[in-house]
Amino acid sequence: MNRLALFLPLALFVGLSLVLLFGLDKDPTDLPSALVGEAFPEFMLPTLQDETKLVSQQDLQGQVLLVNVWATWCFACRIEHPNLNELAEQGVVIVGLNYKDQRNAAKLWLLERGNPYSFNIFDDQGSLGIDLGVYGAPETYLVDADGVIRHRRVGVVDKRVWDSEFSALYQELTGKTPIIGGVR
């Protein structure tokens, strides 16, 4: 018994090492999302193209869509943009949330890089951003026809992310399987 007790520190050390080893693989910037399974927050904001036109959460209901948080100051959004164009070409409805941006710069961005968005919510104060818990652009939300957030991705949506996180859920909701990185 006493002999075994001598190995206790070793056992503790091995146990702690294993815990820390598994901890290494976790991404510390990956926050648990508070909003998955919840209704998209209420808002009333102008669109990017027309500042007199107001849109609200009701404009998101009735169809499965992606809400993409982006801004011209966001470098990773440049990398992501062609992927969104590709998804939009395949019939994916994407609503943009232009986050804390300049209206003219954002319009120019869409002219230069193509516009995958059916419309853009213009949130220059970041108020909807706070309600969504946005902490870094780009972010992408999959919202179902009832206006419930089903998935959230913080960071670029690329082929790997789409295949592993969105594709199956999107197919379940719509029966369609759009892809990123297809042969055109």
């Binding site: 926050l31 648990p32 999302s33 508070a34 951003g129 706070i130 818990g133 946005v134 870094g136």
Partner: protein, 169 residues
Amino acid sequence: MKVLLLLMFLVQSNLVLANAEVVEFSDESLRPRYQQLVEELRCPKCQNQNLADSNSPISKDLRVQVQQLLEEGLTDQQIKDYLKARYSEFILYRPEVNQATWLLWAAPVLFLIMGLLIIYRLYFRFKADSSSGSSSGSSDSSDSSTIEAASALNKDEQTRLDKLLADRK
């Protein structure tokens, strides 16, 4: 010319000072609560900074948000719940007690109990050893230190030792 330069520097330094954040409250009693909240809430973007220390844009926005919510008359708990609903528990530097965190909260007490148990057992064993030694030892009080020191000996050895000591007298 030098005076002019000096003046320019002075004006410049004033401008820099003016950049520091000034938070205005309608009621000064809100300020300590604001200070405590922004120190206890964590910046969601930066890994290990609270809202008070962080200069990231999101922290600035959230500080403003906390200030506004205070002005609206929300309690500290309501403000924390408001932010938790949006940014998840990550934002609380002082996690709430729930299924995922009870072990975290209980750990200090558990470790204390464990430590006390170990001390108790060590002490008890030591006492048991030394008392078994003294029971077989001589009643002479001047020998007690010898007995203490020899407590590692077993009963037979102790009687032998006692005998030897008694013979020497």
